[in-house]
């Protein structure tokens, strides 16, 4: 080994390889960490403030008990309160601009299951699961981020604990 490294040519090669690996590792670390971080939202919406003010989840996410999709509040919904509340805050001024220009807010989506999975919110919420169970302590989040890695194993870990585990472990219950 020492004889190899002593040769000037191989030394340069070795250093070039090390440097390349370090560059790639740095880039990879930087890219990967960015994919795990919470996305940047167009308006810095803080769930914590809303929840502490006493707003229930279903006030904005209205169809969580009725529909597979929990629903996202329209700009009109936000303005219902924020026409009057905190109107001098920069984030609210930003929101009001969307309303005045009749522009929808392009929220960065946090939870994205693959298209071959059909997840119904209404079934789960009506079965007694509260939002925090899967979405974490949203009431204390400023920047909304994902806390659970929602892979199939994670879903099945709960499904197999249920009394009707036989049905809930059938593939077709989510993949239909």
């Amino acid at each position: 080994m020492r004889s190899v490294i002593r040769s000037p040519f191989f030394r340069r090669v070795f250093i070039a390889v090390v440097v390349t690996v370090l560059v790639l590792a740095a880039a990879a670390a930087s890219y990967i960490s960015r994919t795990q971080a919470a996305p940047q939202q167009p308006i810095p919406f803080p769930h914590a403030l809303m929840v502490q003010a006493g707003v229930q989840c279903t006030f904005c996410h209205t169809t969580a008990t009725e529909s597979p999709s929990p629903g996202m509040p329209s700009v009109e919904k936000c303005m219902g309160c924020h026409k009057m509340i905190a109107t001098t805050q920069p984030a609210i001024i930003q929101l009001a601009a969307y309303w005045q220009n009749k522009q929808p807010i392009q929220w960065a989506r946090i939870y994205q299951l693959p298209r071959f999975v059909q997840f119904p919110h209404d079934v789960h919420v009506n079965a007694g699961l509260n939002c925090e169970r899967c979405h974490g302590d949203v009431g204390h989040m400023t920047v909304t981020h994902q806390v659970n890695n929602m892979n199939m194993g994670w879903c099945l870990a709960c499904h197999e604990q249920q009394p009707n585990a036989k049905q809930l472990m059938d593939c077709v219950i989510c993949h239909h």
Partner: protein, 730 residues
């Protein structure tokens, strides 16, 4: 060269690496997030993720099938047939499914447009108030010299409003016409039924109870009068009790999808359908085939005909005609389905006469609408179109209003419509798109699509069950287009002579009044409000129980029906081939701006997105062309260039070209694509007043060019036969 890296260069390199990776991380767009974009103002009663279904009518063709539109979050996402509707029982054809692309088409107009120079395609957008007052002023100035042309898919209430407008102005009644109504033979069929039974109504055929069906060029499973219902009927025809499958014979020069489903395809020369029908009737009379009733009726209805020359003109044997006549006469419940009369209306009457001879069972004549106030768009014969063009050309029309019909594209140039248009003072078109009619108008009024509009359709043909399909918006209007009904009502208020005839506040008030006249039906409901709600909710009105089938009255034709031999247009030495122009079942005539229809392969050739010239492979070989070679087709009236498709199922002496492409307008998907065979047709009427579009001769010349054609099939398998056997007759 250094034998080792110095500390300095190592630190430089390291700094460079660090800087690069930090900068790389700082790029915006490093990761593209999926966005979640909720509404600015959420539609009412549209909970996220839960669909709402609205019943309405399909306006893809005049049949009037009921549809259900599935709406999610205020957006229409799927159209299916209405399972409760007696006409289509939940089924729907491709044209109906593609209706979503009419609603969400990127080329929709969203404001009224006015041009200073007609035909320049340079339009200025107008506010609606300004457009309405301009329109009202022009119509008022025209007095009674107003002409109105409507398409056959126009809602009954709009036909009614236009009729009332014409009457109030003292103008002629609106004309209903489009190319599809000619190719499906609507007017010719009504005329034939008038001649035979004294009722100028459409007829429908109960295929399911028939054992032998002769179709004289009627593509009833393709772009015909009621393709969805006939598809259902065809299923019943093939699933009769005790394994009976029925026997279908299709007489036409080029194999349509209906011929492909037939048990026997008889490739007769274009324009000879009527001759063959009359020959069969004559043989039944002369040779005494079938029951004595049938023989007697045949003797009364079949005019004199020379069988040998009829057979020769059609390209069949006399012996074959005798066998066909025998099968028909001896069948239990034979049916004859007439073609479109483009070779002469007498041909349609001759085919209908076979039904009269058979006894009329299995044929239902259209009755009256279930309420007297209901109006149907009844397509006119070609003679009335010619009369209108004549009026226009003589300067007798000061204002022309068109709705739902693209006549500037759908008539051959030689018919003279565009030339006559030059003499019309003011032309206004109601359309959701800038089509050729709009491009040649002074004003284009952005019309809402049918999925955003109100109305009704009297189902025709109704197959013995009178029905009215309701029409309601399934989504909020997407843009600032307005419905023609409201535009008419608003405009009429500004015209003194018409204001008195239009007392309703809006078209829904008018519709409620008309629908209020319907008797109690299957949907029930007591009181006007409940009946209206049920009318919309169930998708229309039909009787609570199927009425007893009306027996067809005995024929009342005064003279035996005689079909003349076809008069081909063009010298046979210059134009050696017959031209057969047809409508592909998917694209139809007006589907060019709908990518789903453009991209759906034609069922028999798998061609899409283009026009093709179907040539028999043996003929193609003689001409020295093969698939994808571009040829020029010339007729005495015009020419067209399109690639060849070597199609075995067409007569060797016939060239077939599908309609639908060759648009200069109508948006990005339609423009500049393919060629329209209407350029090859003449404008004169044939004998009996129908357009002579089945008897044009043509010449085919290779151009030396070829194109890449997209098809969904393995070409050698089609052209050379599975084992390179070639085709008979080569």
């Amino acid at each position: 060269m250094a034998r080792s890296i110095s500390r300095r260069s190592f630190l430089k390199a390291g700094a460079a690496v660090a800087a690069t990776s930090v900068l790389a991380g700082c790029q915006p767009g490093l990761r593209r997030w999926v966005t979640l974009e909720p509404y600015v103002v959420a539609p009412e009663e549209q909970p996220d993720g839960i669909p709402t279904w609205y019943a309405s009518v399909c306006r893809g063709c005049p049949a009037g099938c009921g549809i259900m539109a599935r709406v999610m979050n205020g957006r229409a996402v799927k159209i299916e047939g209405n399972p409760e509707h007696p006409l289509n029982a939940g089924k729907l054809c491709a044209n109906g499914q593609a209706g979503l692309q009419i609603l969400y088409n990127p080329d929709r107009l969203d404001a009224p447009l006015l041009t200073a120079k007609r035909g320049s395609r340079e339009f200025a957008r107008l506010p609606w108030d300004s457009a309405l007052s301009t329109l009202a002023a022009k119509v008022k100035d025209a007095g009674s010299a107003v002409a109105i042309v409507l398409g056959p898919t126009t809602s009954g209430h709009l036909v009614d409003l236009f009729q009332r407008l014409a009457k109030a102005l003292g103008a002629p009644a609106p004309l209903v016409f489009d190319a599809r109504s000619s190719w499906s033979g609507t007017a010719a069929l009504s005329a034939a039924n008038q001649a035979l039974w004294g009722q100028g109504a459409l007829s429908a055929y109960d295929l399911g109870g028939s054992d032998v069906i002769y179709s004289f060029g009627a593509d009833f499973l393709g772009a015909g009068l009621s393709p969805t219902r006939y598809g259902i009927e065809y299923g019943r025809f093939r699933s009769q009790p005790k394994g009976a499958r029925g026997y279908l014979v299709q007489f036409e020069p080029h194999m349509s999808i209906t011929a492909a489903k037939a048990d026997q395809w008889v490739p007769i020369a274009p324009g000879t359908e009527g001759l063959v029908a009359q020959a069969i009737a004559r043989i039944i009379a002369d040779e005494g085939l079938g029951t004595s009733d049938r023989i007697a009726r045949a003797a009364a209805l079949a005019g004199e005909i020379n069988l040998a020359s009829a057979a020769q003109a059609a390209g069949v044997d006399v012996q074959q005609l005798r066998q066909l006549a025998q099968v028909f006469a001896e069948a239990q419940r034979p049916l004859a389905i007439p073609g479109n009369g483009q070779s002469g209306a007498a041909g349609v009457t001759a085919a209908q006469a076979l039904n009269a001879i058979a006894g009329g069972a299995g044929m239902a004549l259209q009755g009256n609408p279930p309420a007297p106030a209901l109006v149907r768009a009844e397509p006119a014969g070609y003679g009335q179109v010619q009369h209108l063009i004549g009026q226009m050309g003589s300067g007798a029309v000061k204002a022309l209003l068109t709705y739902g019909t693209n006549l500037a594209y759908e008539l051959p140039a030689q018919a003279g419509f565009l030339d006559a248009l030059d003499k019309v003072g003011f032309v206004a078109t109601f359309s959701p798109f800038m089509d050729e009619m709009g491009a040649n108008s002074d004003m284009v009024l952005a019309e809402r699509t049918y999925l955003e509009s109100w109305g009704y359709a009297v189902v025709a043909p109704d197959f013995g069950v009178a029905a009215v399909t309701s029409q309601q918006p399934v989504v909020q209007p997407l843009n600032d287009a307005r419905s023609a009904g409201d535009v008419l009502l608003a405009m009429a208020k500004q015209i003194p002579s018409a204001a008195g005839a239009f007392t309703w506040s809006d078209e829904v008030a008018f519709l409620r009044e008309v629908a209020g006249g319907l008797p109690a039906g299957a949907a029930g409901g007591t009181g006007a409000d409940a009946q209206w709600a049920r009318f919309l909710q169930h998708g229309g009105w039909w009787p609570a129980s199927a009425p007893a089938s009306q027996p067809t009255p005995p024929p009342s034709a005064s003279a035996p029906i005689s079909v003349a031999a076809p008069q081909y247009q063009g010298d046979a030495t210059i134009y050696p081939f017959h031209l057969h122009v047809f409508a592909s079942p998917l694209l139809g005539i007006s589907g060019a701006n709908l990518p789903w229809l453009q991209g759906s392969p034609d069922p028999l050739t798998s061609m899409c997105w283009q026009t093709w010239v179907a040539i028999n492979p043996a003929t193609a070989r003689k001409l020295g062309v093969q698939k994808s070679d571009v040829v020029r087709v010339t007729t005495p009236y015009g020419e067209l260039e399109a690639p060849v498709y070597a199609y075995p199922a067409v007569r060797p002496d016939t060239i077939a070209v599908p309609l639908g492409q060759g648009h200069t307008d109508l948006g990005r998907y339609a423009q500049g694509r393919g060629a329209s065979p209407l350029a090859l047709l003449g404008g004169d009427a044939g004998p009996d007043g129908e357009p002579a579009w089945a008897t044009v001769r043509c010449q085919v010349t290779p151009t030396g060019r070829s194109v890449n054609m997209a098809t969904f099939e393995w070409t050698p398998g089609v052209e050379q036969g599975f084992f390179n056997q070639g085709y008979p007759g080569e």
